[in-house]
Every structure is written in C-alpha cells, then in structure tokens.
Symmetry: C2
Subunit: 112 residues, 2 copies
C-alpha cells in the first residue's frame, strides 16, 4: 500500500476511526477488502489510506460532498455499515472534513 | 489507545500519512512518543489517533488553524520534523482539513 496521490486541495476526506469488537476476523477482513475495492470504483473517489493497531484508521478522499453522500448511500456499503454496527465495531467515529492545505515529502525527489 | 473525544464540529484536523525509511526503530518510537506527549500539552489540542501497518497514519485534532501553526513552529517539533525528513520517512503527506460533520457509534450506548 502506498500513500494516496490526491490532487491539489480543496477536496474532501472521510476519517473513519474504530475499535473492533473481538472475533469474526476473516469475515471482517473480507468485507473490508470488498469495501475498499468498491469505494475505489465510485465517481469522485480520489484515494484511500488505512492502518490498524489498537485503533483502526481509514482515510478516504473524495472530490466533493456529493461523492461522499453517494458512497454513503451505495446499497452494498449500507449493508456493510449495518454489519459494522451489529457485529464488528465496539466504537467508531466518522468525520467529514474539507482539505484546505497539503504538504508532501518524497525522498526520491530530494535525491534529484 | 481509545478514539479521540473531540467536541462538536467545526474544528481542524491534521492528517499525517507516511512510509517509514527502514531502520532506527527504537529512536523513532521514542521520538514519536515524545511528540505525542508534547502535542497533547499544546493550547488548542483536541485529541489524536494513530496506527501503522505498511502506511502510518496519525490524525491530530485542533481547535483552529492558529493552534496548528503554533504546534508546527514549536521548536522541538521543528527538530523532530527535520529528523523525519533526514532519516525516518521515505515519503509523507500532511493534509490540513476543516471538520464539518461527525457521526459516532458506541455499542455501550446501544445497550442502554
């Protein structure tokens, strides 16, 4: 996995942070992977980054709020979110934010 | 580590996503922990969440852009960021965004 190559701001971000309910790891991993693939196919999707230790963090980038709403209402995503509340998460927070500034560092640029 | 108990929006977020340069893990972990503690002492700090697998993601929440600027210019943070560019990261992106909406789920609320 690499960093998301987003365009110049402004664009939008959904920050999903969560604590897992123990168990059901294989089914959870399969659904998470399916949702990653499905999100990437949506209109207005710009990229995604994800990591989990105690806390899981998934950051997805979108062209505008309309793209975020459309993904929120996607029928397979709605079903996955219901399972998330029923089984997979003990706690989560979804934050929607407007990216205003961006700064990048790439070691391979420095060497040039 | 738990999720960050941020107040109602609006507030600001710094999303720091990175790829590590291999090696120097103990020194890196010590500096990361020191920066977490120091950030938490700053005026306008609202919380932080962090995870790393291939990609590292640290999300810190702040009252306003002035609080973010002050932390950016903190002398120990400036020194840590220089070491980050010199040694610890092969790539990173810093995104500053304004949180507009938030949605929370807590299983213990559901049971009540």
């Amino acid at each position: 996995m690499n960093l998301a190559d987003t365009p110049s701001p402004p664009y939008y971000v959904v920050i999903f942070t969560s604590l897992r309910q123990p168990g059901d790891d294989a089914a959870y991993a399969a659904m998470a992977e399916k949702m990653r693939q499905l999100a990437a196919e949506q209109e207005g999707f710009l990229g995604m980054e994800s990591a989990r230790n105690d806390v899981g963090i998934t950051v997805s980038y979108w062209k505008d709020p309309a793209a975020i709403r459309a993904w929120k209402n996607h029928v397979e995503h709605v079903a996955a979110r219901r399972l998330g509340r029923e089984k997979w998460y003990s706690r989560f927070i979804v934050r929607v934010a407007r990216v205003e500034k961006e700064y990048r560092f790439d070691r391979s640029d420095e060497a040039m």
